[in-house]
Amino acid sequence: MNYDNRLENVTVLGAAGKMGSGILLLTSMEMYDISKKPENKDKHFVLYALDISQKALSGLMKYIQGQLVKQAEKKVNALRKVYADRADLIDNAEIIDQYVKDVMNIIRPITTLESAYESHIVFEAASENPALKIKMFSQINENSIVEPWFFTNTSSIPIGHLNKEAKLDGRILGVHFYNPPAVQKLVEVIKCDESKPELSEFVSKFIKQMRKIEVPSYDFAGFIGNGHFMRDALHGMSLLNELKKEMSFAEAVYSANKISQDFMIRPMGIFQLIDYVGIDVCQFIMKVMNPYVGDEIIHSPLLDSMMEIGVKGGQNHDGSQKDGFIKYEEGLLAAFYDFDKKEYVKIDEVAIKGDEKLGALPNGYLPWKDVVGNPKKMEVFVKYFNEMKTMNTAGAKYALEYLKRSKQIGVKLVEDKVAYTAEDVNTVLLTGFFHAYGPINDFIN
């Protein structure tokens, strides 16, 4: 079965979720492109969007429609050629509209698993629950009329475990998109020892077609992305504990966040990133990862405490940020959570003590957005971090420690055979987390 035939019938599990909806969008566009090839004109392409709630599926279809319009607007040049033989479609508006209708026509929103029995490919983006994933995979695999391939978007569960428990015979591969899949370039690909090579070949082509970047990772819980992020987050939280000795909880959140954003020139601070991913999601990923890492503990009592009082972070359906460690107003950091007082304290208030404690940013500081696209950014960073080393402030000290820890985590991922190479670790952080420099660098020794 060739690439095109394989894509004739596909199911996305958990399609209405944040990751599932993005994977559905990308897959639908790829299936549409293939369906337009002359040799495929008699084939019928079907993409099942499976989720548990009808309400969520209605929302999903609206989201897909809106996204398809945006995607189509960006590629009208190409679409005018695709519809060149349609004399009735003249304006860009008509062509965009037709494209959206045609892609939507491939998608079938459903709530029952039975439809997936005829799919050659099952993309899974359900919640990060091993038992649930195994149950769905087993059921589809047992009842399928074909021999389906399973691509799981898990960001932490070992693929070999899923393969074994669901008895998939190596017809499984980890294909880990980053959030939001429609925008993020990075896809981590994880094969287990049993994974059949055909699956990797297919996925490489699929990723290439979508103009995304593939980074392979060993089949180790957390893989590269979360392998770094979770440990990085734990360092951020231990920094918070350290800072707390000399300031309030809210001031410490502010300061740790500022160190990991401004001082380190990252796109967001560590607590903003935890909120972005979701405190609940981070807690869950740590729980999944922890049993597999022998020599350290991947667990945060602080995250547990936050969950207990119901502060979860994450995003609303419209993509806006929910409050977590930080309170957001129109996307901006407005206030910081004080666990001891159980209330948010305004940024102006916490900044006074926080900034005083941290001291000034090193000379040569540039915000992340001003430096990330600079072709000579590495020179900027060398100079900047050298300057930082000459400083005696708490901000500089903690930032250098953080930088060192981040590098240590990266190096260990290669040593522990989670990542194949140091370059892969850096690529994941650069493309999946939008860092301006990789953690494995020579800024500090």
């Binding site: 607007e73 009208v76 040049n77 005018r80 004399a87 003249i90 304006d91 860009n92 508006a93 965009i96």
Partner: protein, 412 residues
């Protein structure tokens, strides 16, 4: 042809050219509509001419509000500008991006026909009502509808990209690109001096480097970069056209007005492509007619407002006028001849690339700019008008060198 009666223009006004580039522009926030621009431009002209009572007739030039704003019958807005315009004759003209100058021509004809002594003329377009990718569909109506299907996503940039491509082929890419980049640089530098210009806030340091950017057909069109293109703009311009009697009635000193001494209109076949992609033939004819009527030559002109919907169109227009030899337009620009301190300052407030291009408003905006320059009202944009060259020239083009209006103005 000759003018059988003296015709003047006076009391010009430009609204801001609103759109991307202006600090106050936000695509998702509500903005003024047609009514607001019409009212602003109209009332500001009326203030300068003693009110609506002095107006005999109104003309509004607009390309395609029917699609941008779901609005036709624009002449009906005049009585909204001022109660005093109720029941007065009003006309709307359309000739794509030359709609504004067609409104001027209509006003001039009314003066010549002695059916009016004072005509209020407004040119207007509000284009930011939709994204540019859909606006391209609307603007494509300036070409032949039957060509749209095979045309480019960005229909008109596509047309002028083909022209630029042919020009590169014939005269070389490097020097042509340098001429086009210099065009952009001049346009923005002039716009910075004019508070109503869309590029007024542009703070790019190395404008020439930006203009030199290599075109990318994948993301836009093959032979033009986005800096070669005029802007998507909302705006209106207004001016009054008068006879000598009209000036007296409004109490206006002729020194505050400019005299219209040449008018050249020319039309070409919409269903046919250009005979030669590297030339603007219709533009040439219109300019010759206007200069003939004015009995002056290109060398007598102090300043020009011409239709640079694309930088390459501006360069070809210089060749059509005869200021630059065929194939030497880019050199003429790169040598600085068209800069504000050059031999013949062109588009002194930025032109379509720098000031903006509210399509139906552009023809009137050009007249207002010339009026300001010849009467010393151009503020920071003011250039020197030599005593032996007291003339200004405008060229307003509709479609791909199809509907042309050229006017010669004289300082009083």
């Amino acid at each position: 042809m000759k003018l059988r009666r003296k015709v003047y223009m006076v009391a010009g006004y430009n609204t801001i050219s609103m759109g991307s580039g202006r600090k106050e522009f936000h695509p998702k926030k509500p903005r003024p509509g047609l009514e607001d621009y019409m009212q602003e431009a109209g009332q500001e002209v009326l203030k300068q001419i003693g009110g609506a009572k002095n107006v005999d007739e109104c003309v509004v030039g607009n390309f395609i509000a029917a699609r941008y704003n779901r609005q036709g019958n624009l002449a009906g807005f005049f009585p909204m500008i001022d109660e005093g315009l109720k029941y007065k004759p009003a006309i709307r003209t359309e000739g794509a991006c030359a709609s504004g100058a067609l409104a001027l021509a209509t006003g001039i004809k009314s003066i010549l026909a002695e059916t009016a002594d004072v005509v209020l003329v407004i040119g207007i377009e509000v284009q930011n009502s939709m994204k540019a990718v859909y606006g391209a569909d609307v603007l494509a109506a300036a070409g032949w509808a039957k060509e749209r299907k095979d045309g480019h996503t960005h229909f008109f940039p596509g047309k002028f990209s083909d022209r630029a491509g042919k020009y590169y082929e014939k005269f070389g890419y490097e020097k042509t690109r340098l001429g086009m980049a210099t065009w952009y640089k001049n346009a923005v530098e002039n716009a910075r001096l004019c508070p109503t210009a869309q590029e007024h806030h542009n703070s790019t340091e190395d404008l020439l480097a930006v203009g030199m950017m290599k075109p990318n057909g994948r993301s836009f069109v093959d032979n033009l970069n986005v800096f070669d293109c005029s802007k998507v703009s909302d705006g209106a311009s207004g001016i009054a056209i008068m006879s000598e009697e009209g000036l007296k009635r409004c109490g206006i000193n002729p020194k505050d007005a400019v005299e219209v001494i040449g008018l050249g209109l020319a039309e070409n076949n919409l269903t046919q492509g250009p005979a030669d992609l590297t030339k603007l033939d219709t533009t040439k004819v219109a300019v010759e007619k206007a200069l003939d009527m004015a009995k002056i030559t290109k060398d007598d002109i102090a300043t020009i407002e011409l239709h640079d919907c694309f930088s390459i169109a501006g360069i070809m227009a210089l060749e059509a006028i005869g200021l630059a030899e065929y194939g030497k337009g880019p050199d003429f620009v790169a040598e600085g001849n068209t800069a504000r301190n050059g031999k013949i300052p062109v588009n002194t407030t930025g032109g379509l690339v720098g000031w903006g291009h509210p399509t139906g408003g552009t023809g009137v905006h050009q007249a207002v700019t010339i009026w300001e320059q010849l009467t010393g009202r151009a503020g920071e944009s003011q250039i020197n008008i030599p005593a032996d060259r007291p003339y200004g020239l405008t060229i307003n083009m509709g479609g791909d060198d199809k509907t042309l209006v050229s006017v010669v103005y004289k300082k009083n």
